[in-house]
Symmetry: C2
Subunit: 329 residues, 2 copies
Amino acid sequence: MISNRQEKILKLIVEDYIKNARPVSSKTLCNALMCSSATIRAEMNYLEEIGLLEKTHISSGRVPSEKGYRYYVDNIMEPQKLSGEDMLKLQTIVDNKSLVVNDIILKSMEIISELTHYTTIVLGKHSSENLVQKVEVIPIDSNNLVAIVVTDKGHVEHKSIYISDNVDPDEIKKTVDLINKLIVGTSIDSVSEVLEYQVKPIIAKYVRQHEVLYNAFYNAFNDFASESIKVSGTKNILMQPEFNNADKIREIISKFEDKDIVESIKEEDNGINIYIGSENNFDDDVTIIKTKYMINGEEGTIALVGPKRMDYERVITLLNYIKENIDEK
Amino acid sequence: MISNRQEKILKLIVEDYIKNARPVSSKTLCNALMCSSATIRAEMNYLEEIGLLEKTHISSGRVPSEKGYRYYVDNIMEPQKLSGEDMLKLQTIVDNKSLVVNDIILKSMEIISELTHYTTIVLGKHSSENLVQKVEVIPIDSNNLVAIVVTDKGHVEHKSIYISDNVDPDEIKKTVDLINKLIVGTSIDSVSEVLEYQVKPIIAKYVRQHEVLYNAFYNAFNDFASESIKVSGTKNILMQPEFNNADKIREIISKFEDKDIVESIKEEDNGINIYIGSENNFDDDVTIIKTKYMINGEEGTIALVGPKRMDYERVITLLNYIKENIDEK
DNA sequence: TATCAGCACTCATGGATAAGCAGTGCTAAA
DNA sequence: TTTAGCACTGCTTATCCATGAGTGCTGATA
C-alpha cells in the first residue's frame, strides 16, 4: 500500500499538474509538506517505482502516470459542490421550462464545454420503447407527400415521400388511414414489420396502385430510428497544451469528425464512468468521462473528452449536476 | 499588359504550386518553355515587379501572389469537364429520387469535401415565401403538446409546448382549430403577427384559459424561422501543408465553430464567386468559392473553403455541376 | 530510523556557428 | 534576345556550447 504522506504527495502532484501542465518538482511541495525536497524526492522515487508517477526525462520533475490518475480518481479525489459561477451558468438553461429536455441536455453540454475547455459529446437515440402515437400524411403536390410520425413521448420524425406515377389522392388517403389504424401503438422499431406483414397484404387487396404506394411508405418509415450526434467545442480541447502539435490536432479532429468513432463512445452503464488514456478506445492521450441517461423515451450518452490532465473533481461535479437534473424531469 | 510567354509562365507556376505546394524555380519550367532558366528568371522578375508573383525569401523560387491567383482565375483558367471519377461519385447522390433536395445538397457537399480535401459549407434558410400549409397539435400528456407546422414546400417544423396549468382539452382543440383557420396560407414569417392581431383577440373572447394557451403557442411559433449550418470536412482543409502549425489550425477550427462567422459566409449573388485571401473576410490564408441557391422555397449558400493554393478549375467544375443539378429540380 | 544538506550528474532549451544547397540577379558574350 | 557563368543569399540541418532546473545518492545529524 501507500502511506498517508505518499498519498498526499500524489494528490499534490496530480492537482498541481492539472493546473499548470508542467512536471512537478520536489521543491514545489516543500511548503505544503513541511519537509525538505530531499525527503520528498525519496517518496517520489517510491511512487515512481510502484508506477503512480512518471518522469518526462531523467532529470525532470514528476508527472502522474495513467495508474496515478486512476489512483487519484478512485481513492483521493473528493466530491465537490458546484461552484457558484458554474451553477449560475447552468441553472438558467436547466430551469428553462420552454426547452425540451433534449435541448436542455444539448445546451448544458455546450456550456460545460465552454466552462471546462474540454469537448463534450451528446449521443441520443430514440428508445425502442417509443410507441407511435400518430401518423400524418400531408400532400404537397401531385408527386410529393410529407409523412410525419409522432411518438407517445412527443418525438416527431418526418420524411418526404416521392411518388413517381400519378396516384389517386383517394388511394393515398385509404392507405394512410390503414397505416394509422394498424401502426398506432406499435413501437417505433417494429414499424417496418407491421408494414410488411399487416399493411402490405391488406392494401394489396383494397388499393389499386398498392405497389408504388407501399414502396414509397416503406422507404419513408424504414430509417426513422435515427440517432443523433452532437459534438461541442472541439476547439476547446485543442487549446490544451498537450495538443500542441499539428499532427496530434489533426488526429483528434479526424476522430471527432468520424461518426463511427464518436458513436462508439456510447456508454451502457448508468453511473458516471471515467476512462483514462488507454482505458478508452478513442485516444490514449485523452480521458473520457461519460454516463448514460434515459428520459422520456430518449436514451443516450453524455460524455466529456479532455486531456488526461483533467480537472476530475470539477468535471464529475458538473456531470452529476446535469444527470440529476435530467433524471428529475 | 503581359506577354504570351509571361502568361504561360504564370499559368505554369500557379498550376505547379497548386500541385506541389512548393515555390517554383526557374529551372523547373525550362522544359515546358524550351528556353534557359536565365530567360525565365528575367520574366519571373518582371512578373514579380508587377505583383503577380512573390518570393518566400530572397533566393527562393516563386509563388503566386493573391493578385497572381486573381489573374489566373480571371484570365487563364479554362472551364473543364467533370472528370469521370468525380462524376461517378456525385451522380449516385444527385440522381437519388428518394432524397429531398436539401439532403442532396448536403450529401453532395460532403462528397465534394472528400474529393477535393477542402472544407464545404452549406447555409440554408427557409425562404420567407414559404406558406403555412397545415398546423397539427398532438397531445402527449396533460402538460405537453407537440405542435407541427408543414409548409407548402414540404418543410416540417415541430416544437414542444408546455402548458403549466391543467387546461381542458376542448379549449385546446378550439384554439388549434382557430389557429388552423387563420394561419394556413400565411407566410411563415408573418405567423407571429397573425397570432397576435387575429388569433389573440378571438380566443380572448371564446376560450377560457386563453392567456396560458396563447403564450404557449406564441412561444412555440415564434422562432420557427430556423436557419441551418452544416460544415463538412473541417479536417480536410487542415491536412493541407499550409496549415502545418498548431496555432493556425486552432484559429481555423475556432472560426468554423463560430456560428456567426460561418453565417457571414452567406452569398447574395447568384453566380459562382471566388474570394481569394484578403478578398474574403473569413481568413486571409484561404480562398472561399461560393454561390447562392434557391429551390423549393429554400434559399441558401454552398461554399467551399480551401487554401489559396486551390485547384480552382476542378472546384469550379464541381460547384457548377451541383448548381446545375439543384436548379433543375 | 527518518530527515536533510550537499554534490555530481542529466537533459531540455536556446543561441551561435558553420557547411551544404537550392535558388536568385547580374553580366558579358553569342 | 538569349544564355552560360558566377557571385551571392538565406533556408536548412547539424554540431557545439552554456545555462538551469531538476534528479539520485551519500554521509552527517537529531
